[in-house]
Each structure stands twice: as structure tokens, then as C-alpha cells.
């Protein structure tokens, strides 16, 4: 079941993905039965707090799980071809060439002792048999694409010679050097100033249009979601709990976690008299609560109901509405939950 059935081509199709990591203190499932589709030329936002599985979902797809991590079940298909998920090796073929990824910390992602041209060229030469001169030409072209002024000169710069915003652009250049079909941006703007954040998001949005990519933004910033994404999946405790169009999810939410997130965040454009904090902590993956993993913090849980015993199924309330995983979603849909 997908939200956008019949709306454009699916480039990346993740079905019922379940990932396990063996830690010293036991086995955890950071990704638990997650299904997401990325459509050509469209933007999907994945929202959640730390430990929600939002990054782990895509690290699994790219074969970048930490030691002890493996995919337990589920399938990943790229352009209609299924990549069986027993081993990581097949999936890593997709990495870089078909699916690009950008990480949050631009300084940590760049090697201080090589020029940015060498580092972008390395990405090209790792995947394609090209000469150094050709790789350099591609690096210059890509630097221009990501809006670095005077790329012919800057290609020989070292990372420390660039500002934070420029380094983030270089990271993006490495992500799109091979013109991937899908670009996953993991918290691309979290550590940046609002002004640079706006520049970087405009750049990603422009690249999506120009290269016809499918863009995935992993973020916790609902403002970024509202502005740049068409579709949003809210994750909690390793599962997708609400998934639909940005309008459906942010304006007519039918999941108490999304509702609580909206009520607990201050806004830049309006005075919020009183914040409504979400009590407690995000779930510990070693001891995920039974039933709905959000129930201990949920203001709508009903102790007589299934919240504490049964895991809610992700379902649509009507054929046109978003997907939600809440036992009490029908009730919420009847109320006016405008936030």
C-alpha cells in the first residue's frame, strides 16, 4: 500500500524493511517494518527524533549499517529491479551512482588533506573508468552546478579554505557528482544558520528539478518539511506512524505523535502562549514499550483499549486519506485537530 499509487514513477521502493543491530546489550531493531517509496522528481521528508529510525532506514538501503547491523527482512527495489537483502554487497552497488547521500556534518565528511577537486574526482573514478583529467573536468562542472562561484579556481582549494556553507555545497557536489536518481539528505541544514539553511535548501530543491532526481530530506524541522516536501513520513521507535501529503499530515494530522510535535514546537511566525511538552523520553530501543511504542507518552491513549497491548497497523482511514498507525485515529479524524 502506498500513498501515491498511480502518481508518477517509483524510483526507489522500500518494502517491509526490518533491520537488526547486535549490540553488547542485546539485539535492537532500529527499523521495523518500514515501507517507503521515492518518486521521480518529487521530495519525500522523513521526520522523527533521534532513535526513530529515520537515518537507519536509508543507511540500511545503502549498505552502510554499523558493525553488527544487518537487514533481517524486506526488499529494496531500484528502478523496478529487486535487490535481495540477504547481503549488503548488492545494495552497495546502488550507493553513490544511483543513490547519493549527504550527511549533516560537512567538515567531518571532507578529508582536510586533499583538495575538493580530488575528493569529488575520487567519487567519479571509484564508479567509472575515467582519466584524472576527465574526473577533474567533472568535478569543475559539478562545483558549478552546486553554485560555487569560480569553480575552475576553487577546484584546487582545500576544505579549510571554504566557509561552512561552501563546504556543505561541496558535500552536495560529491553526492550528485554521478547524477544519481535519488538524493538522500540527512539533516542537511541542522547545524547551519537560518540564512545558509535557506540557501542550501533552495539549492537541493533546484537540483531536484534540474536533474529530475527524487529527493529525500531526513529532518526534524517541520518548517523545512512544510516548504520543500510534497510527502512526509513521520517515524517513531523504528516505525512509520503517519505518512501522507504534507498538507494532510501537518494540517489534518490523525496521529497523536504528530499532533504532539506540532503543539510542542514554538513558531517563528506567531506567538504561542503555552507550549505543550511531550512528557517522558523517546523510547529506548532495547526496551521498546509493548503495543504502540508511543503509548506511554500519548495524551490520547485509553487504558481500556489496545494501545498498551497491540501494535497498531499502518492504515488509511478513507481511500484518499493519509496512512496512520493509531488505534484512536478514527476518533481524531472526527475531531477538529487544528494546531
Amino acid at each position: 500500500m502506498t500513498v501515491n499509487d498511480g502518481q508518477g514513477d517509483i524510483v526507489l521502493d522500500i518494502r517491509n524493511l526490518r533491520t537488526r543491530i547486535e549490540t553488547l546489550r542485546g539485539v535492537v531493531h532500529p527499523v521495523n517494518d518500514v515501507s517507503l517509496q521515492c518518486f521521480r522528481g518529487r521530495t519525500l521528508a522523513v521526520v522523527g527524533e533521534s532513535g526513530s529510525g529515520k537515518s537507519m532506514t536509508f543507511l540500511s538501503v545503502l549498505g552502510l549499517l554499523p558493525p553488527g547491523g544487518s537487514i533481517e527482512s524486506g526488499t529494496v527495489s531500484y528502478l523496478g529491479q529487486e535487490y535481495t537483502l540477504e547481503g549488503k554487497s548488492r545494495l552497495s552497488h546502488l550507493r553513490g551512482k544511483s543513490i547519493g547521500m549527504i550527511f549533516q556534518d560537512a567538515l567531518a565528511g571532507l578529508n582536510p588533506s586533499f583538495t575538493i577537486g580530488q575528493q569529488i574526482g575520487d567519487v567519479v573514478r571509484h564508479h567509472e573508468k575515467t582519466s584524472r583529467a576527465e574526473a577533474r573536468r567533472r568535478a569543475i562542472e559539478t562545483l558549478g552546478l552546486v553554485g560555487i562561484p569560480n569553480p575552475r579556481e576553487r577546484v584546487d582549494y582545500y576544505p579549510h579554505q571554504l566557509s561552512g556553507g561552501m563546504r556543505q555545497r561541496v558535500m552536495i557536489a560529491m553526492g550528485v557528482a554521478l547524477r544519481p536518481q535519488v538524493l538522500v539528505a540527512d539533516e542537511p541544514t541542522t547545524a547551519l544558520d537560518v540564512t545558509v539553511q535557506a540557501q542550501i535548501m533552495e539549492l537541493l530543491d533546484g537540483l531536484r528539478r534540474e536533474l529530475g532526481m527524487s529527493l529525500v530530506i531526513i529532518t526534524h524541522d517541520l518548517g523545512v518539511v512544510a516548504r520543500y516536501a510534497e510527502e512526509v513520513a513521520v517515524m517513531y521507535g523504528g516505525r512509520v506512524v503517519e505518512h501522507g501529503s504534507v498538507r494532510q499530515v501537518l494540517k489534518n494530522t490523525v496521529h497523536p505523535y504528530t499532533e504532539a510535535l506540532l503543539r510542542s514546537s514554538p513558531r517563528p511566525d506567531a506567538h504561542v502562549a503555552e507550549l505543550d511538552p511531550i512528557p517522558g523520553q523517546p523510547p529506548n530501543l532495547l526496551a521498546v514499550p509493548t503495543g504502540c511504542s508511543f503509548h506511554p507518552r500519548c495524551h490520547r491513549r485509553d487504558d481500556r483499549e489496545l494501545c498498551a497491548t497491540d501494535i497498531p497497523r499502518l492504515r488509511a482511514l478513507t481511500p484518499t486519506s493519509q496512512l496512520t498507525a493509531c488505534h484512536r485515529a478514527e476518533e481524531m479524524a472526527l475531531q477538529d485537530v487544528s494546531v
Partner: protein, 371 residues
């Protein structure tokens, strides 16, 4: 002490609290590097340049600006962690810039700080009780009194007494930030400097900590200086907001004035850049995109340091006669005044709304930009 207050009572600057201010910063500057001798060009960085403001008792003053604008340097000087190049800081009317020895230690009990990263600001090998009791080292309290204070503080922060024996790694990020706040408050300070207090926390935890900080302000009669790059957090918590650009204050006013009717084009650009969690609002509004990065503070632009990135200057230049227009390197045109004269921080029409711009935005203009 009284004489000092009188001396500066009528000095110009964005002082709103007058003699009642708990903290008063006067023409505070920090310059790094040295002037080159023998006529060489200067490579001095004016990290903070002649900054003046005051903080009323019980007030929260929000401090915003891009990285490199001097907000951290300013806060370090207020805490007496680095020495200013010029100017002074008054706490309760007393000049604290020259304090040393015992008097300085007493000062450090009156002004405390909560740092951004709760993972880095607690000693991993120290039990929480020892961390929270650390500022009490110089107090005359007995061991038992100190322990009681620690327990009381932790309980007030929503932690349990027994948790005082644990180590930092046994707590979540939000709990660690509560421990950081307990440590700062253990000496019952008057002023608390909050340096990005919630930006390392999960969204669902941010609101808990913000609410706690608001309650504590009432309870302990605290005054806050809140440094944050998150304009939503600043709006939610502050009474007044101060905007810095390249080491100077460009605007300082009551929160609602800043957020609904900014005078300075830089403030308006910041507000315009902050995305709002509402797709209908977001998709219908035009945003101002600031071009480039803030200029190099070692070599700041002449006149108004914002003129190279200012959308308002560009619009104004279109209406001015050619003689009053200056063309920049990239071909952008701005009014000559903006390039030649540095605007002073002055009081505009509204009450206590200070801004440093030759051509401040009109209310209607500002409204269309941020809406």
C-alpha cells in the same frame, strides 16, 4: 557605586532599564590580532565592537545573529572568561571588568552559564552530585548543606535525589541539560546566560526544558540572556530581542516589535528565511534570500557592513538619482550613503526600538516581507 550609576545614567545607547538594570554593558569591545606597524594594513578582527545594552531584572533578552557575529565573544566577556579590549560591564551598578581574586569568585556566583552541549559540559568521570556542587566550592556551606542544596536542585529539575550518585552517561540529553541548569542555579545567581540551551535536544524534549527555564525564572527571580540561532525559540522565551551583525548590534527592541515590524533589513531577512511549519503559509510567501556568507570580519565592508547583502539598499538605489548611487563589484547598486557612512544605533519612532540603518523599513514594508 551610586556615583558610577549617575555618571552613566544619561549616556546614549539602548538602555531601557536605567538604574534598575541588573546587568549593563557599556561600549564593550573585543579586538583580536594586532595592528600592523610601519603603515602595513591592519589584520585586526573586531569581534565585538562598542556594544551597549542593559538587562532589566526578571527580563529575558534574546540574542540572535549568524555564526561569527560576535554573540559568543560577547557572552564570554560578560562571564569574564575573556578580557574585553574596551568598555565595561556593570552588575547591579558595580563595574565587574576589573574584579580579581575573591571578588571575582563572588562575581562568578552571581552570573552563571548553561552551555549548548550537555554531552560535553559535564565531566564524564564525575558523579552528578559533584558536578552540581562544583560552583559551591568557594561557599561557606558545610558538606551536608551542599548535599542538601544539590538534592533540592535536582528534585526541582524533575530528577530524583538518588540519581545524584550516577554518572552523566546514565542520563539522556534532556536530563543532562537539566543537570547543567541545576549546576548553574546551585549558587543562586542573578543572571543566567543560556548559550543555545535546547539546540542539541530532540524536538519533543526542547519544550520540556524551555518550560522549565520559564518557570525557574519566576521562581528564582532570574534574568536571562538567551543566545540561539533558532528564531522560534527566541520568540517564545524572550521579552526583548537583540540582533547582531559583524560584531555590532543592528537592532534591539521588544520581541513583538522585532517579529512584527523589524526596522533593519537584516532582521527582516532573518525572519523571512525561517521556515514555518504550515504548508499553506510557506508556499504562498516570497522569501528574501541573503546572498553569500557574512563578510570577513578582518576586512569588513565600508559604511554599513551589511550593504553588500542588503535587499533594501538595492531597491532604494533604483529610485535614487545616479549621483547618489554606488555600484558594487558584482554590479549591484546601492545608495552611496550605505557605502560611505556607518549607521549609528539610534532610536526610531517607536518606543525603545533601536536600529542601525540609514533607511529603516516602514511598518507596511516589513509586514509584507515577513508575512
Amino acid at each position: 557605586m551610586a556615583a558610577e550609576i549617575a555618571e552613566f545614567a544619561d549616556s546614549p545607547g539602548p538602555f531601557v532599564a536605567g538604574p534598575d538594570a541588573v546587568l549593563r554593558v557599556e561600549r564593550l569591545s573585543k579586538h583580536f590580532g594586532k595592528k600592523k606597524r610601519f603603515g602595513g594594513s591592519s589584520n585586526m578582527v573586531r569581534a565585538v565592537d562598542e556594544v551597549s545594552f542593559d538587562l532589566a531584572r526578571g527580563e529575558t533578552l534574546g540574542l540572535v545573529g549568524e555564526s561569527g557575529c560576535g554573540k559568543t565573544t560577547l557572552s564570554r566577556m560578560i562571564l569574564r572568561l575573556i578580557e574585553p579590549t574596551g568598555g565595561r560591564v556593570l552588575l547591579d551598578g558595580e563595574d565587574v571588568t576589573k574584579l580579581a581574586g575573591r571578588r571575582l569568585r563572588e562575581f562568578h556566583q552571581r552570573v552563571q552559564v548553561v552551555f549548548q552541549d550537555p554531552y560535553a559540559s559535564l565531566d564524564p568521570r564525575q558523579r552528578v552530585a559533584a558536578s552540581v556542587a562544583e560552583p559551591l566550592t568557594n561557599s561557606s556551606m558545610s558538606k551536608q548543606e551542599k548535599l542538601d542544596t544539590v538534592h533540592g536542585m535536582l528534585e526541582r529539575m524533575g530528577l530524583q535525589r538518588a540519581q545524584a550518585k550516577l554518572f552523566p552517561h546514565q542520563f539522556s540529553g534532556g536530563q543532562r541539560q537539566r543537570i547543567g541548569i541545576a549546576r548553574a542555579l546551585s549558587v543562586t545567581p542573578q543572571v543566567l546566560l543560556l548559550d543555545e540551551p535546547v539546540s542539541a535536544l530532540d524536538v519533543s524534549i526542547q519544550a520540556q526544558v524551555l518550560k522549565l527555564l520559564q518557570d525557574l525564572r519566576e521562581e528564582y527571580g532570574l534574568s536571562y540572556i538567551l543566545i540561539s540561532h533558532d528564531l522560534s525559540v527566541v520568540r517564545h522565551v524572550s521579552d526583548r530581542v537583540m540582533v547582531m551583525y559583524l560584531g555590532r548590534i543592528v537592532e534591539i527592541a521588544a520581541k513583538d516589535d522585532i517579529y512584527t515590524s523589524p526596522h533593519h533589513p537584516y532582521t527582516a531577512s532573518l525572519l523571512s528565511a525561517a521556515p514555518v511549519p504550515d504548508p499553506d503559509v510557506e508556499r504562498s510567501r516570497e522569501r528574501i534570500q541573503l546572498p553569500g556568507d557574512p563578510p570577513n570580519p578582518a576586512n569588513p565592508p565600508s559604511g554599513c557592513t551589511f550593504h553588500q547583502r542588503c535587499f533594501h539598499a538595492e531597491l532604494l538605489a533604483q529610485k535614487l538619482p545616479a549621483g547618489e548611487v554606488h555600484e558594487l563589484d558584482g554590479g549591484r547598486k546601492v545608495p552611496r550613503t550605505c557605502v560611505q557612512q556607518a549607521p549609528a544605533l539610534t532610536l526610531k519612532a517607536d518606543d525603545e526600538h533601536w536600529s542601525a540603518c540609514h533607511f529603516p523599513l516602514e511598518r507596511e514594508q516589513a509586514a509584507t516581507i515577513i508575512a
